[in-house]
Structure formats: structure tokens, C-alpha cells
Symmetry: C2
Subunit: 408 residues, 2 copies
């Protein structure tokens, strides 16, 4: 079926080349389509690597091997296959990943553990090794390409191509960050979501890169949801080539550590929000701000309970300021809440305060807000200082149409 471009789509941004990163794409033809579906990012020697991966108990071999290899903190190549997730394929799936690592490490003269592989697409069909091998050979011989081509090649059901960038000053050194991501359905924030990659020319020690990525992930990818369904292949990785020449960031006391971490979080937030903007069937981008919770973690759980509630999501789709459904979602979250202290606002207008509807509640500005594309829901628990921001989209006929037809 033809899926229309999301009305919430954003144009692909201008992203700088990152010294030490060479992108190439090729047609492995994992599906019967005529498009590039295999991407290789070649990384300079000395590149630091960090990654966060799905917590699914049924994770793919790509995730299992990547989770192990990233502990070594270095990378020379990233390979992304689109159209086949290679998940739930047993030993044959693992053999395919190992074959790819062998082929690429041979070509680049690096270790097996320096090659990271991700795959996305249908579950349960072993990745065809012959197609992978031919695709990799073609990619290694291809001309380098830019970010948009690579972002395109890693996509599957995505309706638009997603990238984001940022820069940070480390003393006198300007470092650049560029990221690409794919994802549209099977999006839930049990940590990293879908396939996302951030590249930087900064010189960053692997341990710090991992810590900064985990922090960024907690505030970004872990705070989005489309449908509450966590993929078996979710992966977010960061690669730092060190070509910017800055003094290496070793820890939080290093010069520029905070600036770099902020820039990394910035890119991750942009990428995460782009995934929500391409949520299957999405017509509205919803920001849920939870405050006054017992803790930050509690606030996030409550925010996600609201964001994952089909009744809240359909209410927003119907442009209905149905705060009763928000109350319901708060109540079911399993977190501390006091019905009689709860306040709820849409678009900055409080509909309910301290457990009762606002007396002179004027629904007109709220109705106008709900007709827009960017919806803001604020919930104050009135209990403590915990807060969180969660992003999601509405639940529409488009989601049903896409998922009752497409075999993912």
C-alpha cells in the first residue's frame, strides 16, 4: 500500500560532513524494491563507540553482538540493512551477521568487533547472506554519499527522511554532530528506540561517550512512544572520530564535557521527535509535561501511561479536550497520585485544578489549540518535584490502515 508522507514531516536539514566518517549506500534488494537498502559508514581509526540497545527479551543477533562489542568502545564500520530485521531467525540469523562482520573487517583491515551491524524490517526471515555479501561489495566500491542518502537507505516504512545536527565549542575547538534515524511504528521507549546513529568529529573517550549517550537517551528516546510496542532491534549508537583535534573529553571534568553532552542530547531530542512526527498515521504531535510527581521516574511513567493510552490518543485525534481520559491514564499508571491534587491543562489552559473541573473553564481557546498540529498537555500531580516531558502522536485511522495491511 502507498503510505502518504506524514503531515508532521520536517525537511531534511543541512548537515556538515563529519571528518573521519565516510558514508556509502548500495542496493542489496532485501525486498522487491529498487532503492538503496544497505548502508555502510566507514569510521576513521581511533573512533570511539557507544550504544544503547533494546531491552527486548527477543532481541536480534545484531543487538546481541553489538551489545557485547560496544564494551570495547571502538568502531571502524557500521552496516545497516533495511527491509529485513533478521530477528527471530536462530543460528542462521547469527551466521548472517557474522558473515557481514567478516566481510567488512577483511575489507577494512580491522577486527570483527569493530564492525557494528543493524537490521530492520520483517521479523522471522533469515537475512539472505548472498544478498548481503553482494550489497556490501557494491557499497564498498560505491562513491561516498551524503547524510540524506544514508538516512534514506536505512528507512523502511518511514514516510520522510530524518536527520539532525548540532555543534559544540570545546575551548577553541568547534565540534560537529550529525545524526540520522529511522522509525515510524513499533516505537516504545524501553530505552533506545529504532535505529538511530549520531556521528561526531569530537575526540571523546569511549566511557564518557557511553555515559553521555545513556544520559541523552534517558531524556529523549526513552521519552517517546508511538504505539507502546518495543522493537526487537532498537539501537542508538554514537561514534566519535576525534578528528576535530580537541583535547580528549575523558570525563565530566574535562573541558567542554557539558557542552558536548548538551549537543548530543540536542541531536538525540531532535531525532526522537522526528520519529514521533513520522508515527504511523500521526496527524498531531503531542507534548506531555508532567510536574509535581513523586520523582522524575514516576513523572516519566505517568507521562508514558498518558502517551500510550489509546483513549487519550484517539481523543486528541478527535480534537476533544477530554481530560477525563487523562485522569484515567494517570490513575492506571501505578504511580503515586492523589485524585484531589491533580491538575490538567491543554495548551496552557487549566481544565481541572486540584481534582475538580475549573469553575469558569473556557473551552474555546482549548478547542482552538486542539485543532492545531502541536498539542500540549500538562499534568501536575501536586505531590513533589518530579517532572518529565514525553512526546507522542495521536492514534488515527491511518495507524489501523497501515498495520492491518503491511507485514512488518
Amino acid at each position: 500500500m502507498q503510505i502518504d508522507r506524514s503531515p508532521l514531516a520536517r525537511p531534511f536539514p543541512a548537515l556538515p560532513a563529519i571528518a573521519g566518517v565516510t558514508l556509502r549506500v548500495a542496493r542489496a534488494r532485501y525486498k522487491t524494491w529498487d532503492r538503496c537498502d544497505l548502508t555502510i559508514a566507514e569510521l576513521a581509526e581511533g573512533t570511539s563507540a557507544a550504544g544503547v540497545f533494546t531491552k527486548s527479551a527477543c532481541a536480534s543477533s545484531e543487538v546481541e553482538l553489538g551489545r557485547e562489542a560496544v564494551k570495547l568502545g571502538r568502531a571502524r564500520a557500521l552496516v545497516v540493512n533495511a527491509g529485513n530485521s533478521n530477528a527471530f531467525t536462530g543460528w542462521r540469523g547469527r551466521a548472517a551477521v557474522e558473515a557481514i562482520r567478516a566481510q567488512v573487517s577483511g575489507a577494512l583491515g580491522c577486527g570483527l568487533d569493530d564492525v557494528f551491524v543493524s537490521s530492520t524490517g520483517v521479523i522471522g526471515v533469515p537475512l539472505p547472506i548472498d544478498k548481503a555479501e553482494a550489497g556490501i561489495a557494491a557499497a564498498l566500491n560505491a562513491q561516498p554519499c551524503g547524510w540524506e542518502d544514508a538516512a534514506n537507505a536505512i528507512g523502511t516504512t518511514d514516510t520522510f527522511t530524518k536527520g539532525a545536527g548540532a555543534a559544540a565549542m570545546i575551548g577553541p575547538y568547534r565540534v560537529e554532530l550529525a545524526g540520522i534515524i529511522k522509525g515510524s511504528g513499533m516505537i516504545a521507549p524501553d530505552m533506545a528506540t529504532m535505529l538511530g546513529y549520531v556521528f561526531t568529529d569530537a575526540d571523546v573517550a569511549p566511557a564518557f561517550l557511553q555515559e553521555a549517550l545513556e544520559r541523552a537517551n534517558a531524556a529523549t528516546f526513552s521519552c517517546i512512544t508511538v504505539d507502546g510496542d518495543t522493537s526487537t532491534s532498537d539501537t542508538v549508537m554514537a561514534f566519535a572520530t576525534g578528528k576535530a583535534g580537541n583535547p580528549r573529553i575523558e570525563n565530566w571534568d574535562s573541558a567542554g564535557a557539558d557542552a558536548f553532552a548538551a549537543a548530543l542530547t540536542d541531536v538525540c531530542r531532535q531525532l526522537a521527535q522526528l520519529v514521533v512526527r513520522d508515527g504511523e498515521g500521526a496527524r498531531k504531535f503531542i507534548t506531555i509535561r508532567v510536574s509535581g510527581a513523586a520523582s522524575d521516574a514516576s513523572a516519566r511513567t505517568i507521562g508514558l501511561a498518558i502517551a500510550n493510552s489509546p483513549l487519550v490518543k484517539t481523543a486528541i485525534a478527535g480534537e476533544d479536550a477530554n481530560w477525563g481520559r487523562v485522569v484515567m491514564a494517570v490513575g492506571k499508571a501505578g504511580e503515586p497520585a492523589d485524585r484531589d491534587r491533580l491538575s490538567i491543562a491543554f495548551g496552557g489552559v487549566w481544565a481541572a485544578r486540584n481534582g475538580v473541573p475549573v469553575e469558569d473553564y473556557d473551552e474555546a481557546p482549548v478547542a482552538a489549540h486542539l485543532k492545531g498540529e502541536e498539542i500540549d498537555i500538562a499534568v501536575d500531580l501536586g505531590l513533589g518535584d518530579g517532572h518529565a516531558i514525553v512526546w507522542t502522536c495521536d492514534l488515527t485511522h491511518g495507524y489501523i490502515a497501515i498495520n492491518a495491511d503491511y507485514r512488518s
Copy 2:
């Protein structure tokens, strides 16, 4: 909007009168409709009561007061208001419930705590006390009615009227059970779901009735889901009038205790399944059998993760034997699972065994099964002896249509 009768609907069964229970209905006109929306069940002196209630942190005053009163184990009346849930209405909501209790206890000459009240419908609008009082006065003066009229009067968005019965022998004494229930959306099994009531003429001690109801609930209402959204008003109660004349069932060693508990579970299972059959937009009734899990609780959690996955539910709506989505849901459940021991079947045909697709998998009988109304999914974890059965429905355009328009 006009919502069509569910294609999964069942005719209302013939249910026996229960000695000691007198049903009456009236028009309180909580909404602008011309139908009975207030129900009173008058219960004989000496009736035992038991109840399980929503775990929502934002429960209604009805639930709060009922949860307290049921500890006394006795009841003389049940009042159900339809069209307004009276939830999230602060002190005014509580005042409405207290006014109803005072009026009914005065009329029947019983204690305040002998009167149980439930309300269902829109959240956030205080129940109008004047309408409630007039409705109760009318109901108390009305002719007694039958189960179907009462089941009709407690419904809101239900597309069909739901009841179930069973009988049990306690020595030479035959005892009857009759139950009614309402519910269609905001259905998730954090314990009791929606409003359900079981009446019996058996003589049962309150403590045993409570224990038997909790056991029945755990295997029935706690194993259904429509949309994963837990209502603020969920209530299931059991009332035993003792008019059958059997020797009182005091505990599990009493004569007939097992037979009575089995009959109670039978009625609860029938009622729970009827709610799923009226799931908003439902076109298919799905039974998910989980076996080989680490424990029964783990099996139920995994079953519910599958049942609540929008990707699984839309796959069934699309008649797609997409077991990859089942793998995904197992993986995200947060319970022990080993990808390489997992087996999945549709309609009794194994699609995947021990983590890999079945070699000679014949999709034809599975495709035929998925075209039917009753869908069977079996998941074996291959880890232990834990098992559970969970019931749900598919996710269709009908759910979106109902919930993007109707303000619940």
C-alpha cells in the same frame, strides 16, 4: 454517533430469578436520552457481599466508599447510575454518593454501609443529586423487572446487553447464580473491570464469598483487555442472599465450596468474555494461551503484553498471521523469555518452533483460521510450567471512529 451492534454479540441468556433479589429500573435522565439509566437491586436481609475494585489511583468516590463498606461483608441494596461516572468530581461527587446512600437506606431501613453505589459514564461532571434523588424515588416505586432490563439499564456505550448464569449443587441443594455486566471501552485488567454483578441465592459467608470472588476475578476479569486503559470506576461485586437454604459455605472445607466457586468463576468468565465481545470496534474475539512460562503470573503478563499490543491487534484485524509481532510483544513484556525456545501457533498450527520458523509451515489453514471470528494464539515459552489464558479483541477502524467522536 450511531454505533453498530458488535458482530461478536451474543443473545441475552435465560436467567433464573434469584430469591432475595428484587430488580427495579428508572429514568434518572443523566444524559439527554429516553431510557432507563438507574438500577436498584434490593437484597434480602442477611445478604453477604463481596467486591473487587479498580486499582486506579484516581478512583471515584463510589469505589472508595464501596471498598470500605464491603469489608463489613453485607448488603441490602445496589444502585447503579449510567451516563455519568461521577469520577474526578471532588467533594461534590462524594456528596452525591452519600445522598444516594442516605435516601436508599432510609427507604429500606438499613445502614448506610449496606447500600453500594456504582456510576459509569463521563468523567469530571458531578452526578446531579436532584436527578439521582428523583430517579431513586421512581425506581423504588417501580414494578420489579428482569435481568435483561437491569443489564440494559446499567449499560452506556455497550452495543449489546450482557448476562450469564450458572448453577451448582451443594449437597442436595441447587443454588443459582445470575450475573450482569457492562463495558466496552476503557477495559484493562488491573483487577476488576467495568461494572459487573453476580447474584446468588446460595448461603455463603462473606469472607468466603470475597475469597471466591477474588480467585474468580484473577482468572477472568483480570485476564481480559480491550484497550489497556483501566477505568476509574471498575467494580465487580457478588451478592449471596442465602435463600437457597443450603448449609452456609464458610470456607473451602464446607460442603459444596468447590462447586460454588467453580460456578462463580464460570459466570465471571462468561461475563468477562462478553465484555471483550463488545470491545469497541471489535470484529474478532482472540484467545491467547500462554504456556511454558516461568510462572503463572509471568504467563499472564506475557499474555496481556500480546493482547495489548496494537501491532498484534491490527495484524489480527488484517487477518495476517504475523507471528513476528507476537515475538515482539513477548520480548517487550519484561518477563523471562528465551528467543531460541519460543514457539508460536495460530489456530493450532505452529508457525515457529524453538525460535525459528517451522520449515514446512503451511500458511493455508492459518489463513483460513484468521478469516474466522474466533482467533486462537498459542505461545509456548519453553521455560517452565507457568500458564495463563487471556482474552482480547482486534483493533479496527471502529475503535478509532468510536473514540475520536464519543466523549466518555
